[in-house]
């Protein structure tokens, strides 16, 4: 830990000697965190994997090995196939919308103007506020009868009361709603990620490019984008991981409905594994997240490592 420490170590009690050895102390310092994570993340993770190949339910707690039976059951279920597709639509739809809003928002906030701090604080609200509470507000805004969105559309003469959309009652609109709420939640995060990236590009690099005759688009796409790519990749991975595995927006806004139209992996795993108590099948459903997570983690590791070299 500290190179000079060995010289300063005084002969004392045995405990004192141990505490003065950087290697020993370093291990002691790091072990509580590592143990906590191993016991409550590592071990449960392995247990989840074992559940998925067992016959475990909360009613019959049997660890009997059943091989890939659960996975075969799950894949043959049309509801699950719909859920898997929904999860991808939900994730990519909301990330694309979030990224576009984030990029434009970052360009706006880059320019100094009076009240920028207040504007930034207001724009950060969707990301800061607990998602469950914000989702409840959206549910109220999508209300079948008192929806403020419909009220505005009717007042503007765009629709009439009789053909006002039932946002959460129509399968396609419900999917659009959960995507929009999730994009809304993530775009402030995308803004700060883009801002962190853009402000980390040294001004003299941009100036030098301008002097060399690079225009706005060229500066943007040949200098700024490549330089901020590592940060944006890390931010995007966080966005994808938390969206792909989320259940709160779907649970509160549509409860997976109407008829499974907005069910996603996290939600389905919860319904089967916790609500119905079929832990084995629930675990099998949840584990379908793993391949995607695995790829994302690899990309992230590469991104972090490349930056260090």
């Amino acid at each position: 830990m500290v190179a000079i420490a060995d010289k300063a170590a005084k002969p004392g009690s045995r405990l004192q000697f141990i505490l003065d050895s950087p290697a020993v102390l370093g291990t002691i310092f790091v072990s509580p965190a590592v143990l906590y994570v191993l016991v409550l993340v590592g071990a449960p993770f392995l247990l989840a994997m074992y559940y998925s190949v067992s016959a475990y339910t909360i009613y019959s707690q049997s660890y009997r090995f059943v091989g890939l039976r659960n996975f075969i059951d799950v894949v043959q279920d049309p509801v699950f196939r719909q859920t898997l597709l929904n999860t991808f639509i939900f994730t990519f739809g909301s990330q694309i919308v979030g990224l576009i809003l984030g990029k434009f928002g970052a360009l706006l906030l880059l320019r100094p103007f009076p009240g920028r701090k207040v504007v930034r604080a207001l724009i950060m609200l969707p990301w800061a506020v607990p998602v469950a509470l914000a989702t409840v507000a959206w549910e109220w805004m999508f209300d079948s009868l008192y929806s403020v969105i419909n009220w505005t559309l009717i007042a503007l003469g765009i629709i009439t009361r009789s053909d006002a959309p039932n946002w959460l009652g129509n399968p396609h609109l419900a999917m659009l709603c959960v995507i929009m709420v999730n994009a809304w939640r993530f775009f402030p995060f995308a803004i700060v990620i883009f801002l962190a990236g853009i402000t980390s590009v040294p001004q003299d690099v941009i100036d030098a490019a301008t002097v060399d005759g690079a225009g706005f688009w060229r500066r943007n796409y040949q200098i700024i984008v490549p330089m901020i790519a590592p940060i944006v990749v890390v931010g995007l991975i966080f966005g994808i991981v938390f969206t792909f595995t989320d259940l709160s927006i779907v649970y509160l806004l549509t409860n997976g409905g109407p008829v499974g139209a907005t069910s996603v992996l996290g939600f389905e795993g919860f319904q089967v594994g916790i609500v119905s108590g079929d832990v084995a099948h629930g675990a099998a459903i949840s584990l379908f997240m793993l391949p995607v997570l695995f790829v994302l983690v690899l990309v992230m590791l590469r991104s972090i490592r490349r930056q260090e070299i």
Partner: protein, 281 residues
Amino acid sequence: MPRPLAAAIREVSFYSAVLFFVVIAAFPFYWMVITAFKTNSDLYTLTNIPFWFNEAPTLAHIKYLFTQTLFARWLLNSLIIGVCVVAITLVTALPAGYSLARMTGRSGETLGIGIFMTYLVPPTLLFLPLSRVISMLGLQDSMWSLVLVYPTFTIPFCTWLLMGFFKAVPREIEEAAVVDGCSILGAFIKMVLPVSVPAILTVVIFTFTLTLQEFVYALTFISSSAQKTITLGVATDLVRGDIYFWGELMAGALIAAIPVAIAYNLFLDRFIAGITGGAVK
């Protein structure tokens, strides 16, 4: 086109774009505020203009929250859970972050990244086995299960955040203390921790807001109303038999959201520095 006119158009379009973003981001919160203080007859009359008060504002919904529901209890639960999780996180993440920052060579870096990666293991993968662990410990349907489980994501995140911070603390500070006869442990406590107060404060705030924002584990482990956190209680417990509950619901969401929103905005820059810590050097 004359130049002042072009400039004016550019200004107008810039500020309209800013306004567009502010409205998108903040309207749901405006909607919470306006709903929370409206009378029911105002809320549920379709001919009223919904954007403003058509009748005098009322505190009835907030009064209802504190007298007829367990809202105050949920606030207290969340506070207790938050304080306990902050304590556990500080005790484990402070030494871990310091140790990882001072470890030489590749091993510290790899271990740090390894711990951080567990932050990416989603609750929706872990809630099945963890709910078995919790019932084995006899903690089912108790808020203490959340005290046990929340550090699984606050420790990785805060260790990473602190590791980045401690790397920026010059080694000379400890070396000087060690030369003066201090032990390394003593140097850490007496010299490093005092200069780390801003980082510790950031960890405290973020751990607390992360516990307030958490929903999945709370939903999975807690079913009786008296044990719920504020986020879970408001989102799942305020729905009554009839449909006229939006005033209370929005009032509850508003009260729970305000402190988190303020804390988050104050510490946002540090949070971003932490989350992109591996990428920005």
